[in-house]
Symmetry: C2
DNA sequence: TATTGTTATACTCTATAACTATA
DNA sequence: TATAGTTATAGAGTATAACAATA
């Protein structure tokens, strides 16, 4: 079917289709970039510290909250289900890096880094940052900022979207 | 230790430390954005089509190559190990969406979409694109392009980095 | 009744290494 | 010998749902 007569909305459709593919390509690139970096970081965390990204993430959350976080707060911040947080926390407790401290609400407790955990995390975080700096070194300082700001918009939109889905 | 005398390189270190945190925050934001979108897409693929992202990804690769792809090509493009590709391909073959066609090299074959697979993928791809457009609608057209270009740099740098590690 | 957290279960994806068959 | 692909194994991560204890 070559050269069809141009229907009234053909132009709009063509444009829409192009928009679609642009968004799709953008998404695929975003995914690729993240996977490339994530894979590298995972591998190095395993090789250098025998740990994993979720474990690192959990400890990182605790490091920002020395007073401790409740399980459901961890779950929300890590965007993972409660059962998962229990499992990861159990591991870290067994290794003496994290502890469950009593809370006023006796159903709950506060998960905190132990002193050993704090020390271990500091080491990991230092190296981890160096890796990330290296992996993102393809961008200038100004480009870092641009990317950061653009992703802020993406994030806000995605969060609004998610919020709209649980109207409570 | 308050107000230490300023060592010669304190400034540089401070700057470096700030750079580090900037890169780290950028990485965390990149990860969050991807996870937010990925989670949404995974959920919808499961809910609407009872499929998964890797399965969708594999079919998407085949759709771009109607002549078929060899297993190791799929493995490379999907950035996963060979054993994985075998597993995912097996599933799709069982469901009649994909087929292994003979190749001149009798060790290998070409994996292709079946007619049913092609049809199923077209439907999924259409919806999938609509989701992605919606999820990325927080950005203007110009911002899309900016983000796309910035991510190109990130990707190139990450790939160079990866290539440098396997000197072969 | 609702909430906090745990347990149990199951499934997907993943990598690694050993293996078969062609080249 | 090297390559294409499979198989076997093991482990991480995830979600869901049922459950216990407390609010």
């Amino acid at each position: 079917m070559p050269t069809l007569p141009t229907a009234p909305n053909a132009d709009r459709e063509t444009r829409a289709s192009r928009e679609d593919h642009r968004a799709l390509r953008l998404w695929l690139r975003l995914l690729t970039c993240t996977q490339l970096i994530e894979r590298e970081v995972r591998g190095r965390l395993r090789a250098s510290f025998s740990t994993t990204l979720p474990r690192f993430d959990l400890m990182s959350q605790l490091e920002r909250h020395p007073e401790g976080l409740k399980m459901n707060e961890l779950s929300r911040r890590m965007m993972v289900s409660g059962g998962n947080v229990t499992g990861i926390t159990d591991q870290l407790v067994r290794e003496g890096l994290v502890e469950r401290a009593a809370d006023a609400d006796r159903r709950a407790f506060r998960v905190r880094l132990t002193r050993a955990g704090d020390k271990a995390f500091a080491e990991m975080a230092r190296e981890h940052e160096a890796w990330v700096v290296e992996l993102l070194a393809g961008l200038s300082r100004a480009e870092h900022k641009q990317l950061f700001d653009l992703l802020a918009k993406v994030k806000r939109h995605a969060l609004d979207n998610a919020a709209a889905k649980e109207p409570a």
